[in-house]
Point group: C2
DNA sequence: TTCAAACTTGTACTCAGTTCAGGTTTTGCC
DNA sequence: GGCAAAACCTGAACTGAGTACAAGTTTGAA
């Protein structure tokens, strides 16, 4: 999530198009490190795996690990560059005509669609290594900076406090839905939970002024 | 916040009553370490002060620091034992007859009253050392475990998902109010912001079923 | 072929957090 | 007052995260 692939070649990298050898290697390395890390962590638990273990198992140096991931937790949270591109596309449109709550709902449901492959594994990791739950702010918080940037691109339609509250309430709904979902259930079920949470939480916030 | 004074003498310690020399010294040490730490951190910033610096300046060993505070951040977040006692008293009553949202509102407004002395300084620290904002989950999150325990003591009146959502929405309102408040304004103003946030966020959640 | 930019790596460092064995202080009790 | 046990403090030694940097290697383009 934190500026490596984003800033790498100026623009976001053309994933499906022809990439230089350099970029292809980088992507490979990223994926190798990540999948190695996830395998080790799901086997032994987050704290029982050191960055050194991960680097060694991925055939890379410890230093290199930290050029790909800003910290150990990021290897669990960060998006694959391909997903990242979809996520950026989802955020391109500030949905300016739409009331904030509706726009947020749309973006978060879109995000849920993107996470279909990752979220089940991630929840299992969290369940296995409670140390992750403590130290990190949950899967959802990784997207908060991007969302804040998105929010700032919308033309502000009034009360800042209300805007901030609406935003954080939507994030809370998201976090709650993730927490409530059992990863053994269908992903569709998760999306229903999320829809419910957003609907309930938004009931009082959906319309501009009270 | 994390089990030192709580578990020390079995019960919570009788602060105003006669305490043994041992407990008085412990409390003194706690306060010395804390105030020393806050002074240094507000002078130099969170990351520029090491635990060793704090311990040395407080006339105590590094090891001792970690018996009083579970980690470096806790020195900013943890409650003074006197405040902690008031906070526990506030949570004694599960407010069982009351709808969840109203009970939460009451507890959180009570918490706001307790924090009058601490919050302004704390916000200033956060403003000065952005590294704190990143790594920690905000002042509000310190109280979450206690609140969850309080929540679990209430007789559950229905839908777990809705309960969880209500809870996290109230926390979000609290966090938002803290973020929105300017510590140079009056504390009363903060409490108004918090009331507004709770009212707005709760508009859709206040009544049991939708 | 050549050169600059991008990437990797080992080394060496700082600091958070843990463990533990000994020394010191407090307390309850005689 | 004196004593033993419990509680407390401390220094030393350790693990592991994260950073800085200089030297080496690979890639892309001319």
């Amino acid at each position: 999530m934190t500026g490596f692939f984003q800033t790498a070649s100026g623009q976001r990298c053309a994933l499906s198009a022809v990439m230089g050898l350099r970029e292809r290697k980088k992507l490979d390395a990223w994926r190798t490190i990540r999948s190695t890390a996830l395998r080790l962590i799901s086997e032994r638990g987050f704290d029982a795996v050191s960055v050194e273990d991960i680097a060694a198992a991925a055939g890379v140096s410890r230093t290199t690990f930290f050029t790909y991931f800003p910290n150990k937790e990021a290897v669990v949270h960060d998006l694959d560059p391909a997903e990242l591109q979809q996520w950026r596309e989802l955020l391109e449109d500030p949905r300016d005509g739409m009331p904030l709550w509706d726009a947020l709902t749309e973006v978060l449901l879109g995000l849920a669609r993107l996470l279909e492959q990752r979220l089940p594994l991630q929840k299992r990791l969290f369940a296995q290594s409670p140390e992750l739950c403590q130290s990190s702010r949950g899967p959802c918080a990784s997207y908060q900076p991007d969302l804040e940037e998105w929010l700032s691109r919308r033309t502000t339609d009034g009360d800042d406090l209300r805007t901030a509250l609406t935003f954080s309430t939507a994030m809370a709904a998201c976090t709650t839905a993730i927490a409530a979902w059992d990863p053994d259930d269908s992903y569709e079920h998760f999306r229903e939970i999320l829809r419910d949470c957003l609907r309930w939480a938004g009931a009082g916030l959906a319309r501009p002024v009270s």
